[in-house]
Amino acid sequence: MNLIERVIAISRRRSPWICRLNAGSCNGCDIEITPLLSPRYDAEQLGVELHGTPKHADIVLISGTLTLRSRQAILDIYAQVPNPKAVVALGSCPASGNVFAGSPLVLSESLDSIVPVDVWVPGCPPRPQAILDGVARAAKLLEEGATKSQLESRRGRLS
């Protein structure tokens, strides 16, 4: 890794831009992101900035139950995030469907079966600091080049 690549890698950790995707959440997890961006928990102390469009983001925060209708939206938005990218799943819903599992329009499967998830933040909803911790972990993975999408593209380049 030469100097420029090193600087780029460090800047990925020091300024992770995030975008939110509500895949069918009860809004509990999304409500917890709001204090995360407030001065109290201050995500910007880690360089985190919330952006409205996936095209500006490094990390996608996905919250909520996966539904039949949100499946395609998740795939579309994930495809629009420029490489390298990381996915953070918030709460219990993306991992299993939580209490909504088994409902007719709920997928009741892990988000991992739709897009590669790098960090899981447990909780229902998770605390703001747990979310911040999750974002920091994802940023660290981006620096190390160890997110699943980065590993995947490296594998693709080698083969």
Binding site: V88, N98, P126, A136
Partner: protein, 174 residues
């Protein structure tokens, strides 16, 4: 001037922002991650029954053990399992669960193994009752402590029978 005073005052005060590791105190009733105590569990299945998202499951190794499984990615932290556990084997910890990299699996899974014991009378493998429950039901140092539920039932009915049906030789003065 007033603004200057505010600025000076704020300069001297510590910031209100919390660092990522600076977790605020949570109230003692906060429902955080689950903890399970295998020594108190009787594998009755009440927790799995009341759990709406089915975060708790059981597997059996017949004759050897029963395992209690918990998947945090399915839990809604409602606390019903801890509330309904008759032996208080489940507790919801006050510390909040942290984030996990998916390299370590899709979140946190707990497994807690409840070993079966052979009955001291008939030898059938069974889940021993927790000590406190045993003491309350059967007292300390009774032979029934090592019995399986079937033999305990039998022993209890024998006791009952002995209390109601007088033995022939016994003098009954009522």
């Amino acid at each position: 001037m007033a603004m200057l005073k505010t600025i000076l005052g704020n300069l001297l005060r510590p910031p209100r922002t919390r660092g990522p590791a600076d977790m605020p105190d949570v109230p003692p009733v906060y429902r955080g991650a689950l903890a399970h105590d295998a020594a108190r569990c009787t594998a009755c299945g009440t927790c799995a029954f009341v759990c709406a998202p089915k975060a708790i499951t059981f597997t059996q190794d017949p004759g050897v053990s029963v395992s209690w499984h918990f998947f945090i990615g399915q839990c809604s932290f409602c606390g019903l399992c801890a509330q309904n556990c008759p032996t208080q084997a489940i507790g919801l910890q006050a510390d909040a669960p942290g984030a996990t990299n998916s390299a370590a699996g899709d979140g946190l899974r707990l497994e807690s193994v409840v070993r079966l014991q052979p009955c001291t009378r008939c030898g059938a493998a069974h889940v021993p009752l927790p000590d406190a429950v045993m003491e309350a039901l059967w007292g300390v140092g009774e032979a029934e402590r090592g019995y399986c539920p079937e033999c305990r039932r039998r022993a209890a009915s024998e006791k009952l029978r002995a209390a109601f049906v007088p033995v022939q030789e016994a003098h009954h003065d009522r």
